[in-house]
Amino acid sequence: MNSREMILARLRSNRPDPDVYLLPDIAILGDQDRSRARFETSLAGMGGAVLERQGEETLAAAVARRFPDAKIICSAVPDYEGTLHIEDVTSPQQAAETDVMVVRAPFGIAETGSVFLSEAQLNHLNSAAHLAQHLVVILSEQNITANMHTAYTERQEFHTAHYGVLMSGPSATADIQGVLIRGAQGVRSLSVWWE
């Protein structure tokens, strides 16, 4: 008997009575507010920011204003140029040179200020979202879901993506004497641009 069979057999003989322990219905609990305001409050709580549009400025202008020293701006969206496009990035090593990465999220979650990214948004170079120094995420107010329950029940991406990350603010750590540091191993900042 191989390990698989052995483990399964042992589980079958050792488990508590399956008929006693029923599976509860799917839970849709909590605040159902899916407003932009709630999303922004949550995002700020996680250390993320909104890249505010000043006047009539374009995304390009806003990125240039926010990151004046950025040399390599990698775009993963068709409607924004950057200095190079993600299709021209061929390796994680090359992606690691990126100062600012611009990407469009299919949805966000108001409860946590999270944005979802998968291989569909990253041209299958998933590491690019984490190797860049800064991340700018384009999000539409129409695509905010209320909370984790609604996200998992409404969004098909969880059933289709091979790689799907909910990013909630930038990378962070508090492993050195409890001091919160934003920008640990992944992106140093995460900004949301409303479209």
Partner: protein, 463 residues
């Protein structure tokens, strides 16, 4: 040779002698507990979430074979290689073989309690594989050659100067560096080239989803996403109890996990892996290592509900004042004290006694494990298996004898030798001796209640 039981009391005594470390450790973990409370107060549905999480887990554990098979089938359909490891040795062999097949010499990994449980680094490194922990706290512990002292914050027992010293020795940074930002930056700078040149990546995982063949990794630093996506090879190791039935069930667990652990509404990264990257390879190792046996233990199987949030450690007044390393085990604190004896009953026989059984752990547990009641039950099991110290055993036998006989009891209260029987008085006093080390003895009473009652109530009645 018989294994010696872990001496938690002695290790804790050493920990308590260092006031600055003690003070920080207690306050930092208490602050995490306070932040957890704040999150609870924000959500009116908190107790319902806990109840549902517990129900889902209990259901899943009772249907574990079916859900694991469902997970396996779905994961395979999506192109994931699924392996089954009966024990730590098999887990390490499987991981080693995958790496060997890819001629991988450098492995980057994110935090995984299961790989700690299996001592995987100890297996791979002699075989010529360099393993680099990429989580900051875990990396500090790796460089300092210590086990993680906490399941969520592995280096929480260290202060800035401790980290500065470890980094100075390994990263050639200033040993007097006192800015934690600079130290964290040093780790980022040191880790990046290792990450970019690694041959393989490894992660643990928080959840397996049967319905979709997905596994989920929750982290804050972004290191797990780097470890899993930069190289073409991703190996994930998860305990078989990590499974939940449906994608929608994640809503319940993700909402509870980081709120219970750190008091943040969600981890910075919640990553769902459902299949390999384009051109890449993905492996999942499902680890038993004692779990299927634990499932058969009537009083203890619900400990398998644990989602490793560490809330029980943060709230535990004993853990906060003794430090995770004092438990001498991969899993420390209250949850560790009920899990560890299932790995080695003699070695960890002392841990269920390293508790006042105050019950705070049970109250904060997001999946409602009755931790303090299991501690109580473990004490019984250990006494029945003769895994408690001889003197304590004999004292309890003697106490039981005295308490069953009013005459002997009266003699003992009146401090006469008559009650003590065969046990020399010195044994009792030696055992009781520690009381007076940092405490005064209770005041001597002029008269026992019993004698007062006889004088003031019975005599009056007669009169």
């Amino acid at each position: 040779m018989k294994v010696k039981p872990v001496n938690h009391a002695k290790a804790a005594e050493v920990f308590l002698q260092d006031e600055p470390h003690l003070k920080f450790h207690d306050e930092r973990l208490w602050d995490m507990r306070q932040k957890r409370d704040q999150q609870m107060h924000i959500l009116p549905e908190w107790q319902e979430l806990r109840a549902r999480a517990s129900e889902i887990k209990e259901h899943t554990l009772a249907h574990l074979p079916e859900y694991l098979e469902q997970f396996e089938a779905n994961a395979k359909k999506n192109g994931i290689h699924v392996h089954w490891a009966a024990d730590a040795g098999e887990h390490n062999r499987i991981a080693g073989e995958i790496l060997e097949k890819h001629r991988a010499k450098s492995l980057i990994k994110s935090k995984s309690m299961v790989t700690e449980e299996c001592d995987m680094r100890g297996y791979l490194e002699p075989r010529g594989i360099t393993v680099t922990e990429t989580d900051l706290g875990e990396r500090i512990q790796q460089l300092d050659n210590q086990m993680p002292s906490h399941v969520v914050v592995p280096a929480v027992h260290k202060l800035i100067p401790d980290v500065a010293k470890v980094f100075a020795e390994n990263y050639q940074t200033d040993p007097n560096e006192r800015d934690p930002h600079a130290l964290a930056e040093a780790q980022r700078e040191a880790a990046r080239p290792v990450i970019l040149s690694a041959d393989a990546g490894m992660t643990g995982g928080n959840f397996l989803v049967a319905e979709t063949g997905t596994f989920v990794v929750c982290t804050n630093e972004g290191n797990a996403d780097l470890s899993s996506t930069v190289t073409g090879l991703h190996i994930a190791t998860l305990g078989i109890e990590r499974i939940i039935p449906r994608m929608a069930d994640l809503g319940v667990f993700v909402r509870l996990l980081s709120r219970s652990a750190l008091g943040s509404p969600i981890t910075q990264y919640t990553t769902h892996f459902r299949g390999p990257q384009k051109g890449g390879e993905m492996h999942v190792i499902l680890v038993d290592n004692g779990r299927s046996q634990r499932l058969g233990m009537d009083d203890f199987w619900t400990s398998l509900k644990c989602i490793r949030c560490g809330a029980c450690m943060n709230t535990c007044p004993v853990y906060r004042r003794s430090g995770g390393l004092s438990y001498g085990a991969v899993y420390s604190g209250p949850i560790g004290s009920i899990l560890d004896p299932t790995f080695n009953e003699r070695k960890y026989s002392t841990l269920p006694f390293a508790s006042t059984m105050n019950g705070s752990c049970t109250n904060v547990c997001p999946v409602k494990i009755n931790i303090h009641e299991q501690l109580y039950k473990w004490r019984r099991v250990l006494a029945e298996h003769h895994e408690i110290p001889f003197v304590k055993r004999e004292l309890m036998r003697m106490a039981g004898r005295i308490m069953g006989k009013p005459v002997l009891y009266r003699a003992a209260i009146n401090s006469t030798n008559a009650a003590l029987g065969n046990l020399p008085r010195v044994a009792l006093y030696n055992w009781m001796n520690p009381w007076g080390k940092n405490r005064e003895l209770p005041p001597a009473a002029k008269q026992s209640f019993h004698s007062w009652y006889k004088e003031n109530r019975l005599k009056k009645e007669k009169a």
